[in-house]
Amino acid sequence: MKQNDCNKCGKCKDKAEKDLSLCEHLYTILIYSENVPGLLSQISAIFTRRQVNIETLNVCASSTPGVHKYTVVCCCTESMVIMLTKQIEKRIDVLQARYYTDDEIFINETSLLKIATPIMLEDARVSEAIREHNARIIEVNPTYATAEKTGSTEEILSLYNTLNAMGAVLQFVRSGRICITKSKAEHLDEFIARREKERGK
């Protein structure tokens, strides 16, 4: 999986032929909801019904008290992501759902790699790759070393692929994407402020 497009439909390479309604792209949907149980299954059911896979998912409390933030990455056409977003927003306890392309957000992912110490000691390329990728060693013992790499999907996968080719990786895990928007407007705050004004009217 590439950072900017998923290459699923093969049309992304030829920008001239780029037709958003037909072309599948990677989209990040940011969903804000009230902190109530059961919302995740409501959201995932919408993806299932539309036959869209969730590539990565992150759920956590947002900076607004009582509001949860879901970061969902999926690959689909723009018309599909519009429908998904509207149908998610239709769920009663969802405050807001918006979709973004990669150029509209700052993105990060993190990963952990468990590396076999004997191979690392034997093959100098292992520690070289870790240094080149700016990964951080957080623990070393005679059996294994644990490395942490934060960055884009591509950077993380590049390190993993390099080390894996050397046979050094015992375990690998990559987190879901987290992101913040580049926009100067804070859409959620505006939404909540507007709704609070409408309360009691």
């Binding site: 299954s41 059911a45 429908m83 239709k90 009663i92 709704r195 609070e196």
Partner: protein
Amino acid sequence: MEKITGAEALMRSLLNEGVETLFGYPGGAIMPVYDALYDYTDRLNHILVRHEQGAVHAAQGYARVSGKVGCAIVTSGPGATNTITGVADAMIDSTPMVVICGQVGVAMLGTDAFQEVDVVNVTNPISKWSYQIRRAEDVAWAVSRAFYIARTGRPGPVVLDFAKNAQTGMVEYKPEKVDFIRSYQPIPTMDVKAIEEAAYLINHADRPLLLAGQGIELGNAHQELLNLIEKADIPVGCTLLGLSDLPSDHPLNVGMLGMHGNLGPNVQTNQCDLLIAVGMRFDDRVTGNLNTYAKQAKIIHFDIDPSEINKNVKVDLAVLGDCKQTLAAVTEKVHKIKHTAWVDSFKPYAKEEYEKVIDKAIHPKEGPLLMAEVIRKVSEASNNEAILVTDVGQNQMFGCRYFKFTKAHSVVTSGGCGTMGFGLPAAIGATFGAPERTVCLFVGDGGLQMTIQELGTIMEQKSPVKIILLNNNFLGNVRQWQAMFFNHRYSFTPMDNPDFELIAKAYDIPAATVTEREKLDEEIEKMLTTEGPYLLQCGVLEEDNILPMTPPGANVDEMILEI
């Protein structure tokens, strides 16, 4: 302050929401509620159905004709799962309904306890909101929130899963009134610019066609619709659920849309230069092949639900909001104009359809009775003022084609879900929702037997349902498709039927059978003048076909008139 049980708090909360009628069936996990109900029967009219599916369909029928929220109460496990069809049906047809089902106590949740089913998760994708009440303290809030969600915006079903410990727990009851949920905006803000653009498009159209959906019924926008179409002289095609949006004989009503609708509005969908869709959702039964649907026209979509915009048909302009307001706002800005030639252009289609289909269907000279003639005669005998309830299949399509409407809120049929067995219980609900009106149910021999146990409810309540059984000893609609698309291979569509008249009599329901044309008027008259319920079995032509028809996937203007 006095403490009451959660079950009694439910009773008070229902009264607080203005509930008068409930449809339900008791069982283990809802017993505390039924015990509380025992002391509230002077204020809450509980109708005991014979199967939980009957309770939800009755609640739907009640809601459709009254505009109020229908309410059903059932027990946990199988009681709750028996309501699923009705919940799904109410969701796709936007019917306001609250279903309250019992649930095992919270201590037993997740342990596969007796009659425990994960109702919230089962109903989540098919309901507007699904919530588990786990404490007596939450009853008042949850019930009020449920009714608020069910009736506001685009209405829909809400499921309350009521844990037994919350029913028995004690609480100081305080009435709640939920009228705001910050994450839920029922009616999108009206966009003045969109209104102006819509008026501009209407003012510059030569051949406008308006598609009227159930949104007009739900929004009580009948007058606003009339004001717009009469001012701008716009012909109107109605969807199945929008058939009583305006009177059938209004000069601008050009008929029913869809697969078995009228020729004119379907063909002219691909001739108009402006398509104005109001409170409808471009169902595939209306559009046929989307790739050729109204490509020549600009399209405006009036809807309350933003997720309907561009879902099936890409539109040029969306007018979000409550159609009662948006239609009125647009009407102010449109010019008074005449489209005489365009309106007249529907007449040849109506004439062709009358000659090739309608005349033969309602004025047959010989042979067995036809469904269409029975339906038209019942409609006329009731001054076209009755409520039409149908089951699903040929009875439904004939019913909707040949019944005529003069009043709003007169169609109760399962549109999006197409639920066989819907008719009988929905008709029972309709008699409670509109007790002053005549309720005529058209049902086939197949559909009647799917919920036939509700004859017991009719017996007990003496519900004045006029049941017109169109008996062709076939699953008629499937048989027609087998004839047309499966080389006449009648795979499991012929039916050996019981003596329905005898069954009705066993339930103490007056019944008669008619097979002869000469006796039809007299039998219909007898049915309508007999007080209370009545079953009129009409032996109709076994292999009748519902026409015209747009075959599935065909273009909207490719209607077959004869086969």
